[in-house]
């Protein structure tokens, strides 16, 4: 997930020139920006002082997905991030949307997810690097952020948001969702699946094997629009694929800390048992499960070996079965459909979202974020 991250304020075209673009958030907040020739909407917004949720900024992740009215060109992008049928319905990815006439953009998040000014950066000390799955490839990283003038020692973010991590003095960055909860201890926690040949994976593997004494990183963020929707008492079901668990774990831990009463269910999917994170090694999440009034964990293994007696299949398979049971239990009456939060590889996100909508869950109750290996 390397990306040419925006450099705020750099190479600023004349602010009064370019095509007008009106960005309107889900809660009606309006931002007016101008897009210079050859400039994408995301960059134009950042140049105007509005940092919109985004991640890869190269059309791969779908984090800057929005609905666009008006003629524009769309740059290279992944069909997983922007399926053709969505494109046909007016959706676009703002990081590769180049206006050819004035645009109206409907942003699928509230105004409070827009960062005004520049994205904050803080230096962080590595506190711990621990493997949390039997295969040793899913790693929990705990960071201690240094205090700064704006936040002091506090680490403030909405559960579901992500940060970008780099090494001091280096350009390369990787985006990871925060797995803990906003806190005043200065801590940030990440869940990382080590990828063969991955840049940060390699660094983490080194820290795991050789130690991380005095290791430091730079944390940029928080960013992102994924998060809990405070809209009543409907059950909250979380569908995670691999380390897509991280933002969902943050949400569940927050629900526990805040004393939220909604029933919770987490579907956690992996390819094989050795990839399954051990909850004993994620004690805060385990404690959240213990304190929530009605919480269940449904591990799903796609290709189990003979020893597995849990759910066989993907989380989307488990979801399909449980939603059908929920509909049947209503006896033909109104179904109390859960709010769904889905995070994982694009294929899983698409499958789970499609399963939910096909079962009858209103589309506006399905919230998702795609994560790509990095």
């Amino acid at each position: 997930m390397t990306s040419p991250i925006l450099t705020d304020g750099a190479s600023c075209p004349d602010a009064s020139s370019g095509l007008p673009v009106v960005l309107t958030t889900r809660d009606g907040i309006r931002f007016d920006v101008r897009c210079a020739p050859g400039e994408d909407v995301l960059s134009a917004a950042a140049r105007a002082g509005y940092v919109l949720p985004s991640m890869c900024q190269k059309g791969s992740c779908g984090a800057c997905y929005a609905t666009v009215e008006g003629a524009h060109e769309l740059g290279e992008h992944s069909p997983q991030a922007l399926p053709e049928k969505d494109r046909a319905a007016g959706a676009s990815l703002l990081c590769c949307t180049y206006p050819t006439e004035p645009l109206q953009v409907s942003l699928p998040f509230d105004g409070n997810r827009v960062i005004h000014g520049s994205v904050p950066e803080r230096r962080a000390q590595v506190l711990a690097v621990d493997a949390v799955s039997p295969d040793g490839l899913t790693v929990r990283v705990r960071l201690a952020l240094e205090p700064d003038e704006v936040s002091g020692a506090a680490v403030e973010f909405e559960s579901g948001q992500f940060v970008e991590v780099s090494l001091p003095g280096q350009e390369l960055r990787r985006a990871y969702s925060l797995a803990n909860v906003a806190n005043w201890d200065g801590e940030a926690e990440l869940l990382v699946r080590l990828q063969p040949g991955g840049w940060f994976s390699g660094i983490l593997a080194g820290w795991l094997s050789d130690g991380f004494e005095d290791a430091q990183v730079v944390v940029r963020g928080p960013m992102g629009a994924f998060g809990l929707h405070e809209n009543g008492v409907r059950p909250r079901w979380f569908v995670a694929g691999g380390t897509g668990l991280a933002p969902l774990a943050s949400m569940v831990r927050r629900m526990s800390e805040w004393g939220d009463p909604q029933p919770v269910r987490i579907y956690l999917g992996v390819n094989a048992q050795p990839e399954l994170p051990d909850l004993d090694l994620l004690p805060e999440l385990a404690e959240a499960f213990d304190t929530l009034p009605d919480a269940a964990l449904v591990p799903c293994v796609w290709h189990p070996d003979g020893a597995w007696d849990g759910m066989v299949g993907t989380p989307a398979d488990a979801l399909e079965k449980d939603l059908a049971e929920l509909a049947a239990a209503s006896g033909g009456g109104p179904v109390d459909w859960p709010d769904l939060y889905v995070c994982g590889p694009p294929a899983l996100v698409d499958a789970a979202s499609r399963t939910a909508v096909d079962a009858g869950v209103p589309a506006d109750q399905v919230h998702s974020e795609r994560c790509l290996p990095s």
């Binding site: 409070n112 997810r113 205090p147 003038e149 704006v150 936040s151 002091g152 020692a153 506090a154 403030e156 973010f157 906003a182 005043w184 201890d185 200065g186 809990l228 405070e230 809209n231 009543g232 008492v233 409907r234 800390e257 805040w258 004393g259 939220d260 009463p261 909604q262 109104p334 109390d336």
Partner: protein, 571 residues
């Protein structure tokens, strides 16, 4: 949803009231409807409660729950839909307990228990969507096609006055001041509303009865405040912060403020008041804490700006919260009846046996303190800013302590008129009336104020009354919660001059926003006080016919042109 309980209700449609998606306050449709449903179930609690009490089997704990639960439905108190689902369910359980108590008391007394219907027999559904369908049948406009707008308006006047009574009674109760007479009156009023009353004179009389009850409630609250924290005394309050870690406390709850002061003692954290907690600085036992450092910001409607700038933790203890902005959403905490979705709510100390939201144990503020310690706090540069010093503490103790001076000043002609200009502040542009009115008052007049309306003019230098040694022209009586104090000052002045309050050279110019103000207004009317000027707009729930009654019987007039109104007062 339909809601017209506050001053900022939507007046853009032919039917005045918030009725689409969100209220002006930010309350969403689900929360608004669930609040209606909660009020309905609480009526059921009181249907049994009033009958049980008549048999000598009053359930004070249930009545106390009613006070708290009703308080959550006031404007700008609790916006958390999940909390209301819990409260509806809890209220039904309380009602069933009270019913059992009533039936047992009836059996013991050898009388047949009444079989009640309406809210008493209401069974809330289990899911939110089903509850919302039920709520559609019990809103404040239910039955309007049959009974007409005037009856709906009067029922609203009773309900909203009652909400104010409950809120003040809850404030008193957290300080240990309760009275079975108040519990009985609240239960009786809710039982009255449960009967879907249509008799206009009876509705009007019930409104005034609530005003009388509220006087007793305000007396209890006054006793709670002064009995716990001492009699307020004139005190200068800094508005420029000190360098260092900081907590800002807003709302009205002196007990929560005291707990925060005690729990932050010797931790190097300064505590600042905001909005209606400004008068806390006048209480001897609160100002004795050296880290009660000053007041920060203005009235409640300024909080989004004030809180975003505040570099520490923020605690909202009662009304009036508005949508926390991202800049401070992670560092604001609610307590007591207050709530906002996604904002941390902190409750009683661990191990407390107190029901959620009620008050037998002090609140544990460790989380807010931890936040304050982590956040940057004020810098030396912040402390170098300029700001006015505000003077508070002119409650009845201080004013009546100087009664001889004041009475003599009136007799000597040094003071020609008193104004009581107070109530709620708000965002409406017309509220600058109160600035224009007070700053134009002549130097031989005294302006008493209470409530957050004072923030419209309390940074103005009114000076002292010429010829009267050191008597300020602006006397801050306290919070809206201190209305009893202002009434006692008026009554004492009338006594000193051997006249009625209405005969004093005193004009009441009031500003209303929400239901506490409705209760205070009913108290003033019940006391027979006439010719009150009320603004910035009249309540939307009062129909033209009802306004006509208030004008005819009490001489209430809407505020108009400040200069003309001032001239009329002085004529």
């Amino acid at each position: 949803m339909f809601c017209f309980q506050c001053e900022q209700t939507d007046r853009s449609l032919p039917l005045l009231g918030c009725q689409v998606d969100h209220g002006t306050c930010g309350k969403d449709e689900t929360t608004a409807d669930l609040q209606d449903l909660l009020v309905h179930v609480l009526k059921g609690v009181c249907q049994y409660g009033t009958r049980a009490r008549a048999l000598g089997a009053g359930d004070d704990a249930a009545a106390d729950f009613v006070l708290y639960a009703v308080f959550t439905t006031l404007t700008n108190v609790n916006f958390t839909a999940t909390r209301f689902v819990q409260l509806v369910t809890e209220a039904a359980k309380v009602r069933d307990r009270v019913r059992a108590g009533y039936e047992a008391a009836a059996a013991a007394a050898g009388v047949e228990a009444e079989q009640l219907d309406g809210p008493a027999a209401f069974v809330p559904e289990r899911t939110t969507d089903a509850m919302l369908l039920q709520a559609a049948e019990v809103g404040v406009r239910a039955g309007v096609e049959t009974v007409g707008e005037d009856v709906v308006g009067l029922r609203a006047l009773v309900l909203y006055g009652l909400k104010g009574v409950c809120a003040y009674a809850h404030h008193a109760a957290v300080l240990g001041q309760t009275d079975p007479v108040v519990f009985a009156a609240v239960e009786s009023a809710m039982d009255f509303l449960a009967s879907d009353p249509t008799d206009v004179p009876a509705l009007l009389e019930r409104s005034l009865e609530l005003g009388r009850v509220n006087l007793r409630v305000m007396e209890l609250l006054d006793a709670g405040n002064t009995g716990t924290f001492g009699t307020p005394e004139p005190t200068a309050v800094a508005t420029v912060p000190r360098p260092g870690k900081a907590i800002l406390v807003s709302g009205h709850d002196l007990r929560d403020l005291a707990a925060i002061l005690e729990q932050t003692k010797d931790l190097g954290i300064d505590v600042y008041t905001h909005g209606e907690l400004l008068p806390a600085h006048g209480y001897p036992l609160l100002k004795a804490y050296p880290h009660l450092a000053g007041n920060y910001g203005g009235a409640w409607q300024d909080q989004q700006t004030d809180f975003a700038r505040f570099p520490g933790a923020i605690v909202m203890t009662s009304n009036c919260i508005i949508e926390p902005q991202p800049a401070y959403r992670s560092r604001i905490f609610t307590t007591g009846p207050v709530g906002w979705p996604g904002v941390r709510h902190i409750g009683p100390v661990a191990g407390s046996s107190a029901p959620v939201g009620q008050h037998s144990e002090p609140t544990d503020f460790r989380l807010a303190i931890k936040a304050a310690q982590a956040l940057p706090g004020f810098t030396e540069a912040d402390a170098a800013a300029q700001g006015p010093t505000l003077t508070v503490g002119f409650g009845r103790g201080a004013v009546l302590g100087a009664a001889d001076t004041v009475v003599q000043a009136v007799k000597d002609g040094a003071i020609k008129h008193f104004f009581l200009v107070g109530g709620c502040d708000g965002a409406a542009p017309g509220r600058n009336y109160y600035t224009d009115f007070t700053t134009a008052t002549p130097s031989d007049t005294v302006v008493m104020t209470l409530g957050c309306a004072k923030f419209r003019f309390n940074d103005h230098d009114f000076g002292t009354v010429p010829g009267v040694d050191g008597l300020p022209r602006l006397l801050d009586v306290g919070q809206c919660n201190d209305s009893y104090s202002a009434i006692q000052v008026a009554v004492a002045l009338a006594g000193a001059f051997g006249c009625e309050v209405n005969d004093l050279p005193l004009s009441l110019v009031l500003s209303w926003f929400e239901q506490k103000a409705a209760a205070v207004l009913l108290t003033l009317l019940a006391l027979g006080i006439r010719d009150i000027k009320l603004g910035p707009t009249l309540p939307a729930f009062l129909t033209p016919a009802l306004v006509g009654v208030l004008v005819e019987q009490f001489g209430i007039a809407p505020v108009g042109d400040p200069a003309a109104d001032l001239a009329e007062c002085l004529a």
